[in-house]
Symmetry: C2
Subunit: 388 residues, 2 copies
């Protein structure tokens, strides 16, 4: 449609769009898809959107696939933005919302990114896809690869929640459990991918998963009638969701859909794996690998993220912050969110609640602000965390 | 809105709508909500629906809640109707669809019914809700009760999948595990409910869960541009989903949204618990209790259903049939659907596939027909079934 080229997020080098690429060919950093936004804006108007399909492909003009028949979809996106009145009341807030990503295919926000990545693999001719995953990305790739008729090669840490392993197997993926962390899984793929003929769809190591995830930003804007909230609290492992939303905001402003006002972007990480929090506090532009990463929130067990500089830049530009919470705070929050709002959140999503409480206490967020917390996935996939 | 009264499905006795009721006060059979459909049709037009919210409350005129502020919602309904091209091709079919109910809150179609039941409890003043459940209804009640600020008292068989038990606990419900089947759970509630002050929201034992579930019928019609499919294959435990869709079809015809053509309604049950199949084959109007009910598809382990006569009547009027499949066929089908379409189905939903194969073989369904199979829930909640 309106995709024009790929641009390196670090050195700015342009790359041809209609080619299977991973990282910048010059500097090895992530590539962003760029669009002719003026043309996209002609048809993707608030009025036109009102009658469109209830999934993320409603934003067709700013998604990278050229031909409709290459879209690999299971109904991802356009998830509920739940007004959390009872939980808000406990905190003295009238405008607290939960974006509930557990209503995606495979029960997590990872579906969005894999829908675009696998669609682009379809369009550009890759059929053997490999991914390292802390859990939910694995299930999502397994699903979209199966839907496309492709092969999925999935590498997860040995102690990934059982639900993630089983869903991959039941959807026909080839699963390898690796002793170590997601970074070790990535190393294993790097070692073998050339020989095996795999195309790697590791997040931000190919340009299109972030395009799917950015639709969370479009949806927030549209669901709030094109007024972004005051703050977004986002559980951050690889950080592609946050990076994607930040990209979406720029695109929407260029298209005239929103003004220049931005939410404060607030990163939540686990105390046992908080590389971004540490880098933010130390004023670094990049985040060093976090040693001995450990947390029950498997999606936050990402000791090193290739998009670290993009996360830190968005957080700082927005006037946001980064904060860590403990595993115990997360499991307590799962129950609190569950019992007040009826959403059985993933521990990653639940992490937003103790973070919010701390930021209210510190005056970083005020009670009359409009705040969105992201429940990135379904708690039911993390039975191991709730065996008490 | 347009709710006029409740009517007994067996003896036809009218009951006042604005009153907390369970079964017919004369004959003890299920009650149906009745509407002023002529008035509803004035505003609920295909044109008007195009810009409505992407959940089941888009059908506001034919849902029972009077005041909007009583609606207890988590974004249920308006689930994807997935064109199963690859699975269809394996069967020689061009028009096979999967209605994927796993994209509901709490990952199953049970969310629909509990959303209306809890909304009506809110409107009519019940705050302590009890339910017997084979699994997914429990999680759904826990969620909607929490969202409403009500107490949920849940009775499940001891060997219900762990995911169902944990989700209820994490959402603050009071869970009792009962040695026996769902019928034993119901008996326990019947024994205690008066003393405890519980309102029972057992399916079809209160009039409103079926109202939520009927929206599956409205959605099918709207998603197919107001042309119903040739056949619907539906995994049937209590049968409220099928009964609800059948009710929806009548309402839609009365409103002029569809013509008189109906899909053949096809019941699928487990070989280890097939009371409806047995009654259908024996030409009975009611289904006797199925002895020693046993199946891994916990939602199909319903040895006796209060709506049996309604299920059998819909199946027969539609020219449909009833068929049983084995547990092994179900688990094989989970993997086949997963690997071809990327949907990790519940065993209940997967049961539709072997049923479809048999009906194609027997010529009951022909390959050029448009057929919808219902995936009623997410496979990820049934980890016990996939431990191989």
């Amino acid at each position: 449609m309106h995709l024009t080229h790929l641009e390196c997020t670090a050195c700015g080098l342009h790359h041809e769009a209609r080619r299977l690429l991973n990282l910048c060919l010059r500097c090895g950093k992530p590539l962003f898809a760029k669009y002719d936004l003026a043309r996209a804006a002609q048809t993707m108007t608030p009025e036109a959107l009102r009658t469109r399909r209830a999934d993320m492909w409603r934003y067709r003009e700013v998604l990278p696939v050229e031909r409709d028949e290459n879209i690999v979809s299971l109904g991802e996106g356009w998830t509920p933005l739940v007004h959390a009145r009872r939980l808000g009341a406990k905190l003295g807030m009238g405008e607290l919302y939960i974006k509930d990503e557990s209503l995606n295919p495979t029960q997590s926000f990872k579906a969005r990114g894999m829908s675009t990545a696998v669609s682009m693999a379809m369009e550009l001719g890759a059929q053997r896809l490999a991914v390292p995953s802390a859990g939910n990305a694995a299930g999502a790739l397994a699903a979209y690869a199966a839907r496309a008729g492709f092969e999925a090669f999935i590498f997860m840490p040995q102690d990934t929640p059982r639900a993630n392993v089983i869903e991959c197997v039941e959807m026909g993926a080839r699963v390898t459990l690796v002793e170590g962390l997601i970074t070790d899984c990535a190393a294993e793929i790097a070692r073998r991918k050339e020989q095996e003929g795999w195309f790697e769809v590791s997040t931000l190591k190919e340009p299109y998963r972030v395009e799917g995830k950015k639709t969370m930003g479009y949806e927030l804007a549209e669901q709030f009638d094109w007024q972004l909230p005051d703050a977004i609290i986002y559980p951050t492992g690889g950080g592609t969701g946050l990076i994607g939303m930040w990209k979406a905001f720029d695109e929407m402003e260029a298209m005239g859909l929103i003004d220049g006002k931005r939410p404060r972007m607030i990163v939540v990480q686990a105390a046992g794996c908080a590389p971004i929090v540490r880098a933010f506090e130390q004023g670094e532009d990049h985040a060093a690998e976090f040693p001995n990463a450990a947390t029950i929130a498997s999606g936050l067990r990402v000791p090193r993220a290739i998009g670290d500089f993009l996360i830190l830049s968005a957080v700082r530009s927005s006037g946001g912050t980064a904060i860590a919470v403990t595993d115990e705070e997360m499991t307590d929050a799962v129950r609190e969110i569950g019992a007040t709002e009826g959403i059985f959140a993933a521990p990653e999503g639940a992490a937003c609640l103790p973070a919010l409480r701390k930021l209210l206490d510190r005056g970083v967020i005020s009670k009359d602000e409009r705040v969105v917390i992201f429940n990135t996935g379904a708690g039911v996939k993390y039975l191991e965390c709730f065996a008490r």
